[in-house]
Every structure is written in structure tokens, then in C-alpha cells.
């Protein structure tokens, strides 16, 4: 098995001014399941391909088990990759697709057959060994791609959005199955996704990327409870965290002109962004003491278990792209659309970010 370390990995594509990756540094432990998550175009695939050796870093190094691999060809890195569109060889049967790497490495036929069969059984593909990829369903193809990856027991797996081409139900099933498989094989796994739910449910740790920069690397719960900056706060969690503009002067927090009665946590004077997750937003009477501001109910979404209430508030209080405030509430206590309600926020449950840098103001 293997540990993987990124040491100031920077990638600039030829002819492009912006860096696809800027000085990425973090470590992945042996046997660890790390999820790379971030919006589309943030550089996840690029980072994965650099590990695979399909792309080379402009600057910086990737170390596997402490050894710089930048001069090792992809096939000699003992790494397997599952591509987003699976990249199955259309002219080969399932058996030969799975056994491709073994054949390249000159594994004797009998042993190859045995190993392919084992992998196929693990993935419940044993009935399909003689079919070609064109004759399989999307989920089956996905399994074949996994089979090809696991059959030669590589030190690490790389997966690039392997579930994005499956339907929602299958995706949930496969999510659990991949986690199980990784634990069973004990292999190091780098898993790329743009879906924060996948990131939260699958990884031992999650690395959040935005515009080529690592925002935070942490276990899912830590990421949720202590986002390092506004981006992570907004990206992790659904519906997304509400952000309000505020100012802090002499221990008093104001949202707009309105002072908040509760005592603000210790922080210096200045502009802040207040992050409140929808489940931490309370709907109260507009005249209530607990109301830090008021809003008009714009939309109510009933999801059964809970209800999302979208509220329009004074635009000067939100971020330009922040939109309205969303609160989750119990199904019964839902206000009418158009009603004016008070919005209550418990400052002990909110996150504070510096308005200029976006960094969390929680003392570390």
C-alpha cells in the first residue's frame, strides 16, 4: 500500500495564463480514503492525472511512499485509475478488459483467469465475462472499470467522478459499495467528485479545492463544523450556509443598523460575514426579541421530513451572489408565502469569517 504526498504541486497548461493548480500541498496516508471535492473546473481531474502520470506538474513534486515519482511512467507507478466515462476497451470482452493489465504484465493465463474471476465475483460480474462493454448497462460498465482497477491489487486507486453517469438510486448503492470495497482491500483511495454529499459520506478525509487552491483538508464532520473559510462553509452542506454581512465594534455585532442582543464571541473590530446553516436559523415573530432581522417568505419547499423556507431580506445584507436566506423548519410550523417573519440566529452556532479574506475567525 502507499502514502501519497503533494509538495507544492503547481500546474499551468501551455497557452493558459491561469494556474489550474497552485502550490497544492497535503498528505494522504497509507490506506486512507481521501475525497477531492470542488466545483467543476477547480482542478480535481488535473491533480488526479498528475498522480496517475498522465499529466506532469509544472512545478512541485508528487511523492509516493516518500519517493518522487515525477520521472516514473504511469504504468510503473502501481496505481489504478477509474475514468469518468470508464474508458473500457470496446473491442475486448469483460474478461479481457479486466485482465488487460495482467496480460500486459505477462501474468500466466491460468493465474490471470483465476484473478479475473475473483474480481468479477467480488463485483457480481461473473455472468457477464464474455460480453463486450457495448452490451452492458451503465452500472455494469462502472463495475467492469472497477474490476480492471482492483484485479492487479495496486497500491492506490484513483477515481474520477466514477458515479456521475449513473442514475440517483444506483449512485447511492455504489457509494456504499465503493466504501466497502476500499475498506476490504485496504487500499489508498483518491476519489474525485463535485458532489458534496459523496464527499461527506465516503471519505476518511475530504480535500476541498477551489480555483486550483486547496481550501481545507479535514474529516467530513470537521469540515462541516469548522469550515476554514467562506468557500468551504458555502460548498459543504445542503442547502448551503446562509451568509450575512455584519460589523463588529467593541464586542457588539450589528447586522445592518440593527445591533444583535446576544454577546458576540471574542473577535476584533471590523467587517464580518456571519454564516448560519439553514438548520440553525429559527423563524420567530417579527417583534420577538430573538429576531435579528426580518424577511418576507418567498418560497416554501415541502420535502416531507422537513421544509425549506426561502426568505427575501434586505439585499444590502447579503453577498452579491448570496441570494436569499433559507431556513429549515418542522413541517407544521410553516408560515404562509408572503408573510413577514423574524429571523433568529444563535450566535453560538454561527460561523464568523473575515469579510476581506474570507477566513474563519475562530481561534485555532
Amino acid at each position: 500500500m502507499a502514502s501519497i504526498s503533494f509538495d507544492k504541486v503547481t500546474k499551468r497548461f501551455p497557452g493558459s495564463e491561469v494556474k489550474a493548480l497552485s502550490s497544492v500541498s497535503f498528505d494522504i496516508g497509507d490506506g486512507e480514503f481521501v475525497v477531492l471535492v470542488g466545483p467543476s473546473g477547480c482542478g480535481k481531474t488535473t491533480l488526479l492525472r498528475i498522480v496517475a502520470g498522465l499529466e506532469s506538474a509544472t512545478e512541485g513534486r508528487v511523492l509516493i511512499d516518500g519517493k518522487d515519482i515525477s520521472r516514473v511512467p504511469p504504468g510503473d507507478r502501481n496505481i489504478a485509475m477509474v475514468f469518468q466515462n470508464y474508458a473500457l476497451f470496446p473491442h475486448l470482452t469483460v474478461e479481457h478488459n479486466i485482465g488487460f493489465g495482467l496480460r500486459i504484465r505477462g501474468v500466466p493465463k491460468a493465474e490471470r483467469k483465476r484473478k479475473v474471476r475473483e474480481a468479477a465475483e467480488l463485483l457480481e460480474l461473473d455472468q457477464y465475462l464474455d460480453r463486450r462493454p457495448g452490451e452492458l448497462s451503465g452500472g455494469q460498465r462502472q463495475r467492469v472499470a472497477m474490476g480492471r482497477a482492483i484485479v492487479r491489487r495496486p497500491a492506490a486507486f484513483l477515481m474520477d467522478e466514477p458515479l456521475s453517469n449513473l442514475d440517483a438510486k444506483l449512485r447511492v448503492e455504489m457509494r456504499a459499495e465503493i466504501s466497502r470495497l476500499q475498506r476490504r482491500l485496504g487500499a489508498t483511495m483518491v476519489y474525485v467528485t463535485h458532489d458534496q454529499t459523496e464527499a461527506m459520506t465516503m471519505g476518511d478525509r475530504v480535500a476541498v479545492l477551489d480555483q486550483g487552491l486547496v481550501q481545507q483538508v479535514a474529516p467530513p464532520v470537521e469540515l462541516y463544523q469548522n469550515p476554514a473559510n467562506v468557500f468551504v462553509g458555502g460548498f459543504i452542506g445542503a442547502p448551503r450556509m446562509n451568509l450575512l454581512r455584519g460589523t463588529c465594534r467593541g464586542g457588539t455585532l450589528r447586522i445592518g443598523d440593527r445591533p444583535v442582543r446576544q454577546k458576540a464571541p471574542n473577535m476584533g473590530d471590523g467587517e464580518v460575514l456571519i454564516g448560519a446553516r439553514p438548520e440553525d436559523v429559527e423563524l420567530v415573530s417579527p417583534e420577538s426579541e430573538a429576531a435579528v432581522l426580518t424577511g418576507r417568505v418567498a418560497l416554501v419547499e415541502h420535502l416531507g421530513k422537513e421544509t425549506h423556507v426561502h426568505l427575501d431580506i434586505d439585499e444590502s445584507l447579503t453577498l452579491p451572489d448570496g441570494g436569499n436566506i433559507v431556513a429549515t423548519s418542522a413541517p407544521l410550523a410553516v408560515p404562509q408565502e408572503g408573510a413577514v417573519v423574524g429571523i433568529g440566529i444563535d450566535l453560538h452556532l454561527t460561523h464568523f469569517f473575515a469579510a476581506d479574506s474570507g477566513l474563519s475567525m475562530r481561534a485555532h
Binding site: F13, P14, G53, E55, S56, T58, S70, R71
Partner: protein
């Protein structure tokens, strides 16, 4: 801190990311193994003789056995003043431009009409057919069709009572027109086939979307078909330039039934062949013939580069 020994930053040393531009692998050597056989044969069979042709075009040379004497650009100067050469040159230009317009007009008509036709595969196979028949056989067929007394065309015109329209199609006056008609007949099928396949590649939802927006069929053609098949059009135009300037066998065989054709049918390649290789005159003018060959290659090169430039814009990926 000493940063890097190399003069160029890494990204400049690697102009393109590609699988084979990877760590730990020497690209030029790998590519070299793949390229060498084709490159060597190509250099020996095409490039070296082309270079030799350029040299021969600067000499006066009556053929194997004769000593070639260097004359500089005399051959080119003499061609410039030669009426026959100018006529040949004009004929080639006529094929290129007039023939090109007609071939592409017909090819477009086929492309648009066959979109809706049920028997399109059959029609396409038939119109492409002349392109797999030996040009000599095509010339024989064309000769049979246009022969003055016993030809099919005149015979047909007489049979339907239009004797007044019969012509001596292969007389010097009409000969070149007959050749053009033959070339159009042959090559329309070729280019219609390419255009049709290009049009087939355009996903149908573009037409559906445009149709929903209320586009007329002419607008569909100019706003959807043309822009989305631009790359196919561009390649077709380039191929036509090459075909039109190079086409030789059909004209040669039609003009001479196995002998050198009369000057009334000469285009550049025929002219070149007759004076450099033909059996018409006992004295061969290899130098001058080579000069014509060089002029043709330059024409092709210039026009291809020009077309590529003009048509570069507007290629759309979908």
C-alpha cells in the same frame, strides 16, 4: 536559492500535454520508430524525385542518354511566352473555377435532395461509382457516348426527334466542354458523398431546435448546415483544388484513345506529359515538362494555403 538549471520554464519545454510527453519517456525516439518507415519511403519515392524535378526544370534535357545542360529559368521564361502553354494553363484554371462551381453546386443539390429521399443509399452508391472505375474505362464510355456518328448521345437525340441538336461533340471546338462535362459527371459523386456524410454527422436536434424557432428550409441550410459542416467544406475545397489541377488520366485517354491527344484538349498535366513523356515528338523536352510540374505543385500549394487561411474561421465542434 538556486531554482532551476534549465533555461526554459517547464511549461515552455512542453508545448503540448499529451500522453507521450510524460515523465520518464523519450518521445522523439518512440515517435521516430513509428514514423521512420513511412517517412523514408515517402522521402525516397515522392520528395527526392520532386526535388530532382525542380532541378531538371532548370536544365535543358532531351531524355535519358542526353546530357542535361543548365539553363537557369529559361524553361519558365519560354513557357511564359508560349501560347500553347497559356491555353493549357487557362484550361486548368477553367476546370478549377468553372468546373468547381458546377461540381459543388450539383453536390449541394444532391446533398439537400437526398436528405429526404428514401433510396438515398442507392443513389449515393450510383453517383459515387465513376470514382472506382478506371479513368481509361470512363474515357472509353465517354467516347462511346459522344462519338460523332455512332455515339449514344447523338443516337438518342435522333431517336427522340431532336436531330437538330446533334453535334460533333469531340470536334476541337466542343472537345474541352465535353471533357468538363465528363469531369463534372465523375467528381460530383465524390464531393456529394463527402458533403452528405458531413451533413449526416450534424445531430438532428439542431434542425429540430431551429425548426421550433421557425426557421425556413433555406435558413436551415445557411444557418445550420453550412456552419456545422464547415470543416467538411474546407477539406472538400482543398481536395477539389488538388483533383482539379492533377486530373490527367481521363483527359489523356479521352483525347487520344491510347495516343497523345491533340493540343485542343491539353490541360497542364496533359501538356506536361506530352512534351516530357509522350510519343508525339521524337525530341522530349524534359526540362520544360518539369517546369510545368513545378508550376502545378506551386499552384496547389498556394491555393491550399490560401483556402485554409480563408476557411479557418468558423469551424465548430459539436
Amino acid at each position: 536559492m538556486v531554482k532551476s538549471v534549465g533555461v526554459l520554464p517547464g511549461s515552455m519545454r512542453r508545448p503540448r500535454t499529451s500522453l507521450h510527453r510524460q515523465p520518464g519517456r523519450s518521445v522523439p525516439r518512440q515517435a521516430g520508430i513509428f514514423l521512420a518507415p513511412a517517412l523514408i519511403i515517402y522521402l525516397l519515392i515522392i520528395v527526392a524525385p520532386t526535388v530532382a524535378t525542380i532541378w531538371i526544370s532548370l536544365t535543358e534535357w532531351k531524355g535519358i542518354g542526353d546530357e542535361a545542360t543548365f539553363v537557369g529559368i529559361d524553361n519558365y521564361r519560354r513557357l511564359w511566352q508560349d501560347e500553347t502553354f497559356r491555353a493549357s494553363f487557362n484550361r486548368t484554371l477553367t476546370i478549377l473555377v468553372v468546373g468547381g462551381v458546377i461540381v459543388f453546386a450539383c453536390a449541394f443539390v444532391f446533398t439537400m435532395l437526398l436528405r429526404e429521399l428514401r433510396s438515398r443509399k442507392f443513389v449515393r452508391a450510383v453517383i459515387f461509382f465513376p470514382n472506382i472505375v478506371p479513368p481509361v474505362a470512363l474515357a472509353i464510355a465517354w467516347g462511346v457516348l459522344l462519338a460523332p456518328r455512332s455515339g449514344l448521345l447523338n443516337g438518342f437525340l435522333e431517336a427522340i426527334g431532336l436531330s437538330s441538336l446533334t453535334q460533333t461533340w469531340l470536334s476541337p471546338d466542343l472537345f474541352f466542354g465535353s471533357i468538363m462535362a465528363g469531369l463534372i459527371w465523375i467528381y460530383t459523386g465524390f464531393f456529394a458523398t463527402i458533403l452528405m456524410a458531413g451533413v449526416d454527422r450534424v445531430p438532428n436536434y439542431f434542425y429540430e431546435a431551429a425548426g421550433l424557432e421557425g426557421a425556413s428550409s433555406r435558413q436551415l441550410f445557411t444557418r445550420v448546415t453550412i456552419p456545422l459542416t464547415w470543416d467538411v467544406l474546407s477539406v472538400s475545397a482543398v481536395l477539389w483544388v488538388i483533383v482539379a489541377i492533377k486530373t490527367f488520366e481521363f483527359i489523356y485517354a479521352l483525347g487520344g484513345s491510347g495516343t497523345d491527344p491533340s493540343a485542343a484538349s491539353w490541360t497542364l498535366p496533359v501538356h506536361m506529359y506530352v512534351i516530357a513523356l509522350g510519343n508525339r515528338s521524337p525530341i522530349l523536352a524534359l526540362g520544360q515538362g518539369s517546369a510545368i510540374a513545378v508550376i502545378m505543385v506551386i499552384m496547389v500549394g498556394l491555393l491550399v494555403v490560401l483556402l485554409r487561411r480563408l476557411m479557418r474561421r468558423g469551424v465548430v465542434e459539436f
